[in-house]
Symmetry: C2
Subunit: 311 residues, 2 copies
C-alpha cells in the first residue's frame, strides 16, 4: 500500500475527514485569447505554489442580475467555462480540483459527458441551481443531481450552503440534509463575514444529523478579503451579510485589506474552534471576489496563515 502518498481530496471528503484548505479561482474573461488565459493560469499557479493547498475551486459565473433589482457594483463579464479552463490551461496543477457547474447553462447530455470525462480521484464538482425562478434553464438542480447519481456517482458532488439564508428562515440545515439525500458529500458556503450565522447553521445541521443517526458532511467555509468599499458593495450584492462594524472599520481604515484579512482570520479561528468542539468536519476556501492584484495577493497570504495558524 502506497501509504506515503497523501489521500486525494475526494477520498478525504468522502471519508468525512476535516481540515481542508482550498483556494477559489474565477476563470479569466471570455474575451481573452488562449495565450492570455494561459498566462493568467501560469501566474496563478505560481502564486499558489508555496501554499499547502488540498485543492482548487473553480467557479462557474453566470449573470445573476435577475436575482436582485440592485445594480451590480462590478459589471458582469462572461468568463471562460471552468471545465474548459481546467482542461486547457490548468494541466500543470497536479492536485485536486472542485469544479463548479451552474447546471442551468448545460443540457443533460453535456453534463453527463463532462462527468464521464473526469477522473474522480482528481475532480469533484459542486452543482449550483438557478439564482432565480424566472431564469430559463437547460437543466434544473434536481435533474443534474439525479443524473449524476444515476450515471456517474464516482464523481464526488458537493452543494452550496448559505448561512444568510439560514438567518432569514432557519431552514438551511434542512436543505443540507435534503442535498445529502440527493448525493452531496460536502458543502461549500457562500462567503462568510458573520461567524454567528455560520455557527447557527452548522449547529442546527450537526444536531439534525445526530438526531437522525447520520454523520455530518464536511462544511467548507469560504473567506474573502475585502480591499475596498466597492468590493464590500459587491459582497453585499452577492447576498453576503457584512456586519455594520466591519463596514465601519473598512470605511475608516487606511488599509481595508489588512482590516478584512484580520477579520477573516479571526472568523476562521472562531469557526475552527466551534467545529472542533462539535467534532464537525470543516475546512476553508479562500477567494478574492475582486481581480485587483493587491486583493489576490492578500488572499494568498490569508490562505498561508490559515494553514499555519488554524488548520
Amino acid at each position: 500500500m502506497p501509504d506515503a502518498l497523501p489521500a486525494h481530496l475526494a477520498d478525504r471528503l468522502a471519508r468525512r475527514e476535516s481540515n481542508y484548505l482550498l483556494f477559489g479561482l474565477t476563470p479569466p474573461r471570455h474575451s481573452v485569447t488562449a495565450e492570455e488565459a494561459q498566462g493568467i493560469a501560469d501566474v496563478t499557479l505560481e502564486r499558489l505554489a508555496g501554499l499547502d493547498l488540498d485543492g482548487l475551486l473553480i467557479y462557474d459565473i453566470v449573470d445573476e442580475s435577475e436575482r436582485t433589482d440592485a445594480s451590480r457594483p462590478f459589471p458582469y463579464l462572461p468568463t471562460l467555462d471552468p471545465a474548459e479552463y481546467l482542461a486547457h490551461h490548468l494541466g500543470a496543477w497536479d492536485k485536486s480540483v472542485i469544479v463548479y457547474r451552474c447546471v442551468g447553462k448545460y443540457t443533460q447530455p453535456q453534463l453527463e459527458t463532462w462527468l464521464h470525462d473526469q477522473d474522480p480521484q482528481r475532480v469533484s464538482t459542486v452543482f449550483v441551481g438557478a439564482a432565480s425562478r424566472e431564469m430559463p434553464v437547460e437543466t434544473t438542480l434536481a435533474q443534474a443531481q439525479a443524473l449524476r447519481s444515476r450515471s456517474r456517482p464516482a464523481v464526488l458532488l458537493g452543494g452550496v450552503a448559505i448561512p444568510e439564508r439560514h438567518a432569514a428562515g432557519a431552514e438551511e440545515h434542512v436543505r443540507l440534509l435534503a442535498k445529502v439525500d440527493r448525493g452531496c458529500s460536502f458543502f461549500i458556503t457562500q462567503v462568510v463575514y458573520d461567524a454567528q450565522a455560520a455557527r447557527n447553521l452548522v449547529s442546527d445541521y450537526y444536531y439534525a444529523c445526530r438526531d437522525r443517526g447520520l454523520e455530518p458532511a464536511p462544511v467548507i467555509f469560504t473567506l474573502s478579503v475585502c480591499g475596498s468599499l466597492k468590493t464590500l458593495e459587491f459582497l453585499r450584492w452577492l447576498g453576503v451579510d457584512v456586519p455594520r462594524w466591519m463596514e465601519n472599520a473598512l470605511r475608516h481604515s487606511d488599509d481595508t485589506l489588512e482590516a478584512s484579512s484580520a477579520h477573516c482570520l479571526a472568523t476562521a479561528k472562531d469557526l475552527a474552534e466551534f467545529c472542533r468542539s462539535l467534532e464537525m468536519p470543516f475546512g476553508f476556501s479562500v477567494e478574492s471576489v475582486s481581480i485587483r492584484r493587491a486583493e489576490i495577493e492578500a488572499a494568498v497570504v490569508l490562505a498561508g496563515r490559515l494553514r499555519a495558524e488554524v488548520l
Copy 2:
C-alpha cells in the same frame, strides 16, 4: 497626594478610563425579614470578597409583564428597593456602587432626596425608563435626567444600552449620543450573548462620536451565565438575543453552566479586543439572572476569570 489609593469608580468613569469589572446584584425579595436580607447580603459580600471588583451594580426590579405578551418564565416577585438594600444591608462594602433606579416608581422629590443623600465618590446611578409606554409613571426618564442635571450633577449618571435594539433599528447609537447630552457619562448594556450586535452598536457609537469630535463614554458589557433552559427562556423574555447555536449547545450539553461560561468568556475576549482596537473605553459586569446557587457561583468564577484573562 495620596496616589497610592486607587481612584474611585465614578472618577475613572468620568475620566473615560477603561477596563472595569463590576458585579450585578438583584436585591432580596420584598418578603424576606431584615435579618434574612442581612444574611443574604453577608453571604454575597463573602462570595465577592476574593474578586478584584471595581464596584457593585444593584438592580431595580419592576414588573415588566406589560412589555410583552409572552408569559414570564420565572414569576415576578417584588424585591427590596436597591437604595434601601444598599443603605441598610451593604454597609460592609467599602468600594463603589452603581444603583439602578427605575425612575417611574419614584416621585421627583423622592429621587431628588435620594440623590442628595448619596456620596458621589461612592455611589453612581443608572436611570431606567418605563418598559412600555402604557405603564403609568411618577417620573419620566427625561424628567429624572433633567432633575439630576439641575439639582445634583455630582452624582454620576449612566444609561442603558441595548445592542438588540440596535440590531432591529440601527439607531441605538443615536440614543446613546442623546443620553450623553442629557447627562450620562457611561453605559451599561443589557446581557450580551451576541457579540456581533454589541460590536455593531459600539462601532456605530464610536464613529458617531468621532464625527462630532466627542470622546466616547465607557460602555460596560453585561454578561450572564445560563445554567438551564429556563434561564435561557428568561433571558429571551428579557429581550436578549441568544444565538441558535448557543441554544443548541445548552439543549445538548450535560453542563450548560460550563458551556455558557465558556461562551461568556469568549464573548468578553472578542469585545475587549474589539474595543481596544478602537481605543474605546469598556468594562464588564457579571450577573446571574437566576438565584440558583450554582449559577451565582459560576458567575463569581466568571468574574474572576475576566479579571485574570481579559481585563
